[in-house]
Every structure is written in structure tokens, then in C-alpha cells.
């Protein structure tokens, strides 16, 4: 099927080079050059990275981002694998509707997500404020709210990767394992998990990248208090507006590094998974 790479070489006309040139120029000016500037601005006039990492507010924000992203990814992985199994392996009323609704978080503006969580869990007028008061739990303007906002925006990413693979592998092996006396958990761990492994890693990496970078929803829900509820992306904005440009670029550099690393991991994994 993928025969146009080998065998017959592509016919090269002037148009081929015009198209190629156009694409290269477009991507260079839109993505490659701007993104490369984050490196230049971080290390251009003295090493901003080293001095920035001395700033307790930066260290706090980075730790906060890592903690929040970790919990959001854990929640979405457990939820995602469970939901994928239920959707693919079982029939129940409302399955189609649930399937559609699960994609919803990807098409809602982060600001709207923040607003939604505020309306539900806000400390004063939130719909669930009395309940939260009763159990003495603060969600909005606190870490649980930030984790919820982050989990919300990246919710469908694991499901979207795992569902097609589960559909593809079918149930023969699982049924064989069951008939040989394996329990539910054993079947999952020995048969299902190894088959969805790469899709799962891919989904987790995507969720992680999305979670580390969330801005709008977290900005509304967190209250953005330095060294209390401030994440790395919020800190970038604050530092830039306070004319601490070096710190803003250095923090951005770290976030860019993680994003590019995630992409490289995904690119390395993809072909493996397709060949398997």
C-alpha cells in the first residue's frame, strides 16, 4: 500500500519544488523561527535559566505544575482505560451518547471550562458550595480545582488512543484466557494491557503535554496566587507582564523542552505500534 515511497520515483516538476518551497517557508516563519527564539532569548544575554531557577516563585510554580499534571494524568489514565473497555466490550443504553459526550472537553474553550467549574464548585455562589462547605473541602482557588480543570481539558486523549486499538484486537485472546481459568484482573494484566500498551503510552504522553501546558481554565479556577496556586504557565504570563522577561523566557524554555520531548517520544512510538 505504501508503495509510492519506493518502486516508482515521484515525478518531479517545477511545481513540486514550488510547493515544497512554499511549505518550508510557511512553516519556517510560522513555527520554526518563533519557537527557536525561546532558546535565543533564554541564553542570548547571559544564562537566564540558572538565575531563574534560583527564584522560589519559579521553583514553586514548576513543582505545582508537575504535581497537578501527575494527578490529572493518573485520573485520566484510570478513567480512560476503564471507559474504553466499557465502550468497546459492552453494550448498554446510551452508549452512543456517552461516546459523543466524552469528546466534548476538546471542543470547549478553556475559559468556558474554567467558568463551568466555577459555577459548580465556586466557594460562594457555586452550585455545590453548601456540600463542599459541609465536608470542609475547598476546590476552586485551591489545588483540587486546578487538578480538576487540568483533568477536564485532557480527558478524552487516552480514550481516543485506546478505543481503536481495543476494537482492532478483538476479544478472542481474552476469551481464551478466561476459558483457561484466568480471572478478570489477570486477563486484563496479562492479555489486554500488553496489547494496548503503546496506545496507552501515546495517550498518556499526549495528556501529559496538554496538562503541563493548560492555561485558561487554570487561570480562572486557581486564583493565580504566587507560591500558593500558581502554575508554570500562569507564572510565564506574570513574569512577562512584570518585565522579568528573562524569567518568562527561561520558564517557557523548560515547558518547550518538555513539549518537544513529548513529541519525539510520540514520533518514536508511532511506527512501532503500526508495525506490531
Amino acid at each position: 500500500m505504501a508503495s509510492h515511497a519506493t518502486g516508482r520515483g515521484p515525478r518531479r516538476t517545477a511545481a513540486t519544488y514550488v510547493r515544497r518551497g512554499l511549505v518550508l517557508v510557511y512553516l519556517f516563519f510560522l513555527v520554526a523561527w518563533p519557537v527557536s527564539l525561546v532558546v535565543t532569548r533564554t541564553f542570548g544575554d547571559g544564562n537566564h535559566l540558572a538565575s531563574t531557577l534560583q527564584d522560589p516563585a519559579v521553583v514553586f510554580a514548576l513543582q505545582m505544575t508537575v504535581v497537578v499534571a501527575f494527578w490529572a494524568v493518573v485520573i485520566n489514565t484510570v478513567f480512560g482505560v476503564g471507559m474504553s473497555l466499557l465502550i468497546v466490550r459492552y453494550d448498554f443504553a446510551g452508549k452512543g451518547l456517552l461516546n459523543t459526550l466524552l469528546d466534548l472537553p476538546l471542543s470547549v474553550s478553556p475559559v468556558v471550562i474554567g467558568l463551568a467549574l466555577l459555577l459548580a464548585y465556586g466557594p460562594r455562589d457555586g452550585y455545590f458550595a453548601p456540600v463542599l462547605d459541609a465536608i470542609n473541602l475547598q476546590v476552586v482557588f485551591s489545588v483540587p480545582g486546578i487538578i480538576m480543570a487540568t483533568a477536564f481539558v485532557s480527558l478524552p486523549l487516552v480514550i481516543r488512543e485506546v478505543v481503536p486499538v481495543l476494537q482492532e484486537i478483538g476479544t478472542e485472546q481474552e476469551q481464551a484466557a478466561r476459558s483457561l481459568g484466568a480471572g478478570g484482573w489477570q486477563t486484563f494484566r496479562r492479555i489486554t494491557l500488553p496489547s494496548i500498551r503503546w496506545a496507552l503510552v501515546y495517550g498518556v504522553v499526549l495528556s501529559l503535554a496538554r496538562s503541563l501546558g493548560e492555561f485558561g481554565a487554570v487561570k480562572i479556577v486557581s486564583g493565580n496566587i504566587s507560591q500558593q496556586t500558581q502554575t508554570a504557565t500562569l507564572l510565564v504570563e506574570e513574569k512577562y507582564l512584570e518585565f522579568e522577561r528573562g524569567a518568562a523566557y527561561a520558564t517557557s524554555f523548560l515547558l518547550t523542552l518538555i513539549a518537544v520531548a513529548a513529541l519525539v517520544v510520540v514520533t518514536v512510538l508511532r511506527p512501532k505500534e503500526e508495525k506490531a
Partner: protein, 282 residues
């Protein structure tokens, strides 16, 4: 499940999908209950509260919110720029996908990574890097910050992958033989494009365009630093929502959110219709 195991495999039709769903067992039902509860707590109830909040005020809130010239201008700007960006993405995205699939050259793999960067990069960082090339300290001498062009630029960056990634797999499946046959029968390059390639790509272009438009009208993070959020000039709808939230006016914020949602739905329906027409008639 026992039925499936005992039924001889030879008699079942080969064509049947390998997926065989069964009815809920008790542990599965409990799992489903827990999952749906969490999904409701996290997503469904909060989102529903937005529509209740907006509907609670009745038409009055919508009329009042849209009657605010600053809000109306922000929504107008957002929709205009998102449309413009989607148009550019349809052309450039298809072109990029074409080059990635049909062209062979050194460094193509790097290009694949570059296209995904806007997905992986935090939006605030996206705004910052665009600001360093197209802002006041631009090495090019081009400064679009605090203008409506900055909105266009930021949306162009964050929506780059949608059309490319939608069109690319379909283009890979397309057999070049069909195009060669058309060409050998005397069709010009343009006719082959319009009659053979475009109809096959139309649905995927449309779905990429829908995603790009939906993302465009809801974008926030990349615009915060770049656009300056000047009322009547570079302030977008998401920023209006944010301001309403900060000013403790959730009813107006919800009204703008619902209007954005309606625009997104209208776009999905329209693009779906267009792509069906193109796919049928070429």
C-alpha cells in the same frame, strides 16, 4: 459469552466485525456507574450549569450581552478571524499534507514534528514566541502586537495541525493510479484535481476546518500576551468571558459562552453540508 465460545466458528460469517460486545456484567456495571458519576461531576454538571445560568436570565441576558458594543465587537472579531484562519488552513493545510505525502526530501521527518509543535506547546508559550518574532522587539521589524493581525497570527499558529492531520491519512490511501488514468484520458491537472482528488479529500478537509474554526473561536492562552486585549481592536470573545468572570457577572459570561457554542455548532453543520456537496458533485 458462553454462546460465543460454544458456537462453531466456521458457521459465523467471516465479514462480521471482530468486535463482539456483550451485555453488562455486575463489575462492569459498577465500573460504568463510577465512570459516569465522575464524568458528570467533572464535565457534564458544570457545563450544564452554564446553560442554566444563561437560560435563567432569559432572553434579556442575551440581548443585553450582545447589545454591549464591546462584547459584540469581540465576538465579531473572533468569528471573522477564525473564519479567515480556517480559510488559510484549508489551502495551506491541504498543500502541506500534499507535500508530506507525495514529495520526498531530506528533513521531511523533522517537518512532521514541526507541524505537531502547536499541539504540544503550551498556549501561553505559543503567544510568547510569536511575540518575540512579530512583537515590538521583532528581528524582522514586523510588529503586529496589539492589533487585530495578532489575533490572526496566533490563531494561525495554534490551528496549524488540524487540516494537515485530517487530510494526510486520506491522501495516503488515495491511489495515484486513478489520477494517472484520468490524466491519460486527457484530463488536465486542474480537472484531475477538481474531479478526482478534491471530492475524495473534501470530507477530511471539512472536518479539519471544523476543528480549526472551533479552536479558533475559543482560543485564549496564545492571545493574552500577543493581542494586548484592546477593546474594539484586538479583544476576543474568550477574553470578554474572562473579564465578565472577574467582574463577577457569570450570567453575561455564560451568555457569551452559549453564543460561542451556537456559532461552533452552526459551523459544524455548514461545513458538513459543503463537504457532502463537494464529495458528490466534485
Amino acid at each position: 459469552m458462553t454462546d460465543l465460545l460454544t458456537s462453531p466458528s466456521g458457521t459465523t460469517r467471516r465479514r462480521r466485525p471482530r468486535r463482539s460486545a456483550s451485555t453488562l456484567t455486575r463489575p462492569a456495571a459498577i465500573g460504568l456507574g463510577v465512570g459516569v458519576t465522575w464524568f458528570s461531576i467533572l464535565v457534564l454538571i458544570p457545563l450544564a450549569l452554564i446553560s442554566f445560568q444563561a437560560a435563567g436570565g432569559g432572553w434579556g441576558v442575551f440581548v443585553e450581552t450582545l447589545g454591549n458594543p464591546q462584547t459584540a465587537s469581540a465576538i465579531g472579531l473572533t468569528v471573522r478571524q477564525a473564519l479567515l484562519v480556517t480559510l488559510v488552513n484549508v489551502v495551506m493545510g491541504t498543500l502541506i499534507a500534499w507535500v508530506l505525502v507525495r514529495d520526498q526530501f531530506w528533513g521531511k521527518r523533522a517537518l512532521e514534528t514541526i507541524i505537531d509543535i502547536p499541539f504540544a506547546l503550551p498556549t501561553i508559550v505559543a503567544g510568547l514566541v510569536l511575540l518575540s518574532l512579530y512583537g515590538p522587539e521583532s528581528p524582522l521589524g514586523v510588529d503586529v502586537s496589539n492589533t487585530s493581525h495578532s489575533v490572526f497570527l496566533a490563531l494561525l499558529f495554534v490551528t496549524l495541525p488540524f487540516v494537515v492531520r485530517a487530510v494526510q491519512p486520506v491522501l495516503m490511501e488515495l491511489e495515484p493510479e486513478v489520477e494517472e488514468a484520468a490524466a491519460s484520458l486527457g484530463a488536465s491537472t486542474f480537472t484531475t484535481w477538481r474531479r478526482i482528488i478534491l471530492p475524495s479529500l473534501a470530507p477530511s478537509i471539512a472536518s479539519g476546518a471544523t476543528l480549526s474554526f472551533a479552536r479558533g473561536i475559543s482560543e485564549y492562552g496564545s492571545l493574552v500576551l500577543l493581542s494586548g486585549n484592546l477593546p474594539f481592536e484586538s479583544e476576543v470573545a474568550s477574553v470578554r468571558i474572562f473579564t465578565y468572570v472577574e467582574n463577577d457577572n457569570p450570567a453575561a459570561a455564560s451568555a457569551v459562552a452559549v453564543i460561542l457554542l451556537a456559532v461552533a455548532l452552526a459551523a459544524i453543520v455548514t461545513l458538513n453540508l459543503i463537504s457532502r456537496r463537494v464529495a458528490r458533485h466534485g
